[in-house]
Every structure is written in structure tokens, then in C-alpha cells.
């Protein structure tokens, strides 16, 4: 695959590390059912066949974490953005 890094341009996926579903959010540990929430966050995934937004780390390039929307059936990539909005809040 070629991942369109918003900083470096399209690069082979061998430059990246993958961390799966980008839609899960780390829960607030203060909430009542934090244990259940963390269980779901750490372990449960939709694992869809089709559109998927996922985390890729460009360790072989700009060392940015990216959110990539990719079709898991066709591997077609929609968008790739910086996970932290380019470090510019």
C-alpha cells in the first residue's frame, strides 16, 4: 500500500507502524464504570469490512501519528490527517 502522509507525501506502508481503530477513545478513568469502559477501549473493535479510520505512525518518515480512512475491502484510502492536527492546536 501507499499511504498519503500529509507531510511527506505518498509512502510505502513499510515506513509506517499500525495501531488499528482510531475511533476508540481513551476513557476518563474517573467515571463510574471505568473498568468496563477501559475493557471496551482496549479490547473491543468493530473490525468493519469497508470504511475504517485507523492509526498509522510514520516512524520511517516524519514520526507523526496519522488518522487514515481506508476501505478494508478494497484498501482504497480516503484521507490521511495528523492525529494531533499537526501539533498546532
Amino acid at each position: 500500500m501507499r499511504i498519503p502522509c500529509p507531510y511527506c507525501g505518498p509512502r510505502g506502508n513499510e515506513e509506517f507502524s499500525y495501531l488499528g481503530d482510531a475511533s476508540v477513545r481513551r476513557p476518563d478513568p474517573a467515571i463510574a464504570d471505568a473498568t468496563q469502559a477501559f475493557h471496551d477501549y482496549v479490547y473491543l473493535r468493530d473490525n468493519p469490512s469497508g470504511g475504517h479510520s485507523e492509526l498509522w505512525y510514520h516512524g520511517g518518515g516524519c514520526r507523526r501519528w496519522l488518522v487514515v480512512t481506508r476501505n478494508t475491502r478494497t484498501h482504497e484510502i480516503g484521507a490521511a490527517t495528523f492525529a494531533d492536527a499537526g501539533g498546532e492546536p
Binding site: C62, R63, E88
Partner: protein
């Protein structure tokens, strides 16, 4: 401390022999190891990117690039390696990191990286033909121009490539600890064209 001043060693110490190597005849490329360039990483503070840019303009007369490009003047250069991140370099710049901290430290985290990398300047008619044996990015003049910068993986080694001029001259920097393996790949790739090694 009683001893004389410490002797510095280049990453290629004992590896690179000056002279002609590979195929006999005119050299297809020339490889120069540079040990006279200081490097420092510059990371903009949250929300301080613009302040940093103006500080850089004020101190060095340089417009900090937004993308993977480098700007330079009077031997000092800034190369974009990521959003809000640059590698500054200076030829014979002494303690570059210290002077950067002094001038732009209020807006950026600065770390000396002068010793962290093997620095090579590659030139010659066949330099691109040798580099394609490991460089995955497109180095064609239409695609990679003077002032362009790329961080990528070459032969399993993380490498930063700066195009310094159209001659062409490319600057490749690789992690110091991997200098030997990187050199093994580079020389194997260049041998077909014949190459000269010089040190500066």
C-alpha cells in the same frame, strides 16, 4: 582534566578509504563524509509556531519552511522533517544548539544532534542510479528539486535526504550507530558505476 583535548571520531572511522573504488575508470559518483556540520533538532512549542518563524527570520534571515524543504543562508539551514519540527544545521557553526537555544529557545525545544548522524554528500553523473537501489522516493528532477527534503527508509535505515543543488548534490544523513551497515549498502550500490571517496 590533565589529558589533551579529546580526539573526535567520525562515524565512518576505519570504514571509508579515500580514493577510487568499484568499477575502474571515471567515477560515476563522489562520496564525501562531512564532519564539520553541526545539527540540532528544533520543535516548536504548542501554539508558538509563528513566533518561532519570526524569531528565525529575525535571527537568521530565513523563512522557516512549512513542508519537507530546506532554507539556508550563510551556512545555516533549516530543514523541515515534520509539522512543527526542523533539523537546523550549520557549517563550522560551533555549538549550534546553544546559539539556537539562545535565539529561539523561547519558542522551541532544541536538542543538539551534531553527533547523532553520519553525514554524506553525494554527487556525480550516476548518483541517482546508485541511490535508486535503496531510496524509495522519486529523485527525478521533476519530482525532487533543490531544497527538497525527505525522511525515509533506505536499506532498513532511517535516512534524511536533502537535495543541495542541481549538480546534483544530495546530502544523506543516517543514524551514527548504523553507519557501517549503511556504508555497506551504499558502496555495494555505487560499485557498478565506480565511485571516489573523499573526506572533508
Amino acid at each position: 582534566m590533565p589529558d589533551a583535548v579529546l580526539q573526535a571520531r567520525s562515524p565512518l572511522h576505519g570504514l571509508a578509504r579515500s580514493g577510487h573504488h568499484g568499477r575502474a575508470g571515471p567515477a560515476g559518483l563522489t562520496i564525501v563524509e562531512r564532519t564539520d556540520i553541526a545539527f540540532a533538532s528544533v520543535i516548536a512549542r504548542r501554539g508558538q509556531r509563528d513566533a518561532l518563524a519570526s524569531a528565525v527570520r529575525a535571527s537568521f534571515g530565513l523563512a522557516l519552511p512549512d513542508g519537507p524543504r530546506r532554507v539556508g543562508k550563510d551556512g545555516v539551514a533549516f530543514a523541515g522533517i515534520g509539522p512543527g519540527q526542523w533539523i537546523a544545521s550549520g557549517e563550522n557553526a560551533g555549538d549550534l544548539a546553544a546559539s539556537l537555544r539562545e535565539r529561539i529557545g523561547a519558542f522551541a525545544a532544541v536538542a543538539d544532534q551534531s553527533d547523532s548522524r553520519l553525514v554524506l554528500h553525494l554527487s556525480g553523473a550516476r548518483v541517482r542510479d546508485a541511490l535508486v537501489k535503496g531510496v524509495p522516493i522519486d529523485l527525478h528532477p521533476r519530482a525532487f528539486k533543490t531544497g527538497d527534503v525527505a525522511s525515509t527508509l533506505v536499506a532498513h535505515v532511517g535516512v534524511q535526504i536533502d537535495m543541495l543543488d542541481d549538480a546534483p548534490v544530495f546530502q544523506l544523513t543516517a543514524p551514527r550507530s548504523m553507519a557501517g551497515s549503511f556504508w555497506s549498502w551504499l558502496t555495494a550500490s555505487a560499485a557498478e558505476f565506480g565511485y571516489d571517496v573523499a573526506t572533508k
